[in-house]
Amino acid sequence: MARQWQAGDSLPPIRLDLTIRRAAQAVAGTRDYYPAHHDEQFARANGAAGIFFNTMFLQAFAGRAAGEWFGYDAFLRRLEVAMRGTNYVGRTLVAVGTVAAVREADGRRCVDADVTFSTEDGPTTAVKLTVQLPAEGTVVP
């Protein structure tokens, strides 16, 4: 049974440990070999405090969160990721959010959510996402 969403509904925390192993997975998994994501020395020489996670990794985590919050058949339509801080190896990444709007657009039932990713260093990433839900009354065989 599909849940009825309302603006203001809160989206519970989802956590992920940002281990060095996960940084290695992120390099291979996103195909992003820019040295700041695997070379500590390079990262420090370019103004960061260490190896940090890339944009595609954050998009992946947002995609996971969207599915866990809105259901496996909620289709991600739009995803905005704004880097406000840096997601460093050794921290724990936590996603929390709030439903911003529930709306019909072009015959699509959509939910917009405002999401924040944080680590021990504070909020790092401001995320806005839109999912399209199955049309109301959809019969799943």
């Binding site: 996103t30 992946a60 947002a62 058949d73 289709f75 739009r78």
Partner: protein
């Protein structure tokens, strides 16, 4: 550092030729992706489950969009798009500031994508906590084997010359 030159300005708004993604949309890379963030969504891999939904079959995680266009590190590919041609003097480092993706169609396994890229904007010189450089906005458009647009990616990057060490 000098301001942006005519050569750089001339790159703005030019859409590159379509470049084929190096690999078709495939389940193995999608599984690595899900393993990376512990995404257990069955709709990506269990076709039986996915066929029973309005999405009518399994598909790759939508947020993988940009990953499909990432070039292999070997053998090296010489890219000719405007972003590859952009040389901002002294700017040796790049960081992503903002990314917006729009997903128009589910990407099905076996789809072969092409991508075009254009630079939408090059900002004036700015100094941030990381260094001095320029904010650059780009638009990547992804199309499938039928020529249908399946998604877009709008990137704002900061291309910069890092502050000298010990400067803070």
């Amino acid at each position: 550092m000098p301001a942006i030159t005519e050569k750089e300005r001339a790159l703005i708004g030019k859409e590159s030729a379509p470049r084929p993604a190096p690999y078709p949309v495939n389940e193995v890379m999608a599984r690595f992706w899900c393993e990376m963030v512990e995404d257990a969504n069955a709709i990506y891999f269990d076709d039986g489950c996915a066929r029973g939904t309005w999405l009518q079959g399994k598909f790759a995680p939508p947020a993988m969009l940009f990953t499909w266009a990432m070039e292999p590190v070997w053998p090296e590919v010489e890219r000719e798009d405007p972003l590859a041609q952009l040389r901002l003097e002294g700017c040796t480092a790049t960081i992503a500031v903002n990314a917006v993706q729009v997903y128009l169609e589910p990407l099905r396994y076996g789809d072969t994508l092409t991508v075009t890229v254009q630079i939408s904007e090059i900002g004036e010189e700015k100094t941030t906590r990381l260094g001095t450089g320029h904010f650059v906005s780009t638009l990547h458009t992804f199309r499938n084997q039928s020529g249908q647009a399946v998604g877009t990616h709008t990137f704002t990057l900061f291309m910069y010359r890092p502050h000298p060490p010990g400067g803070d």
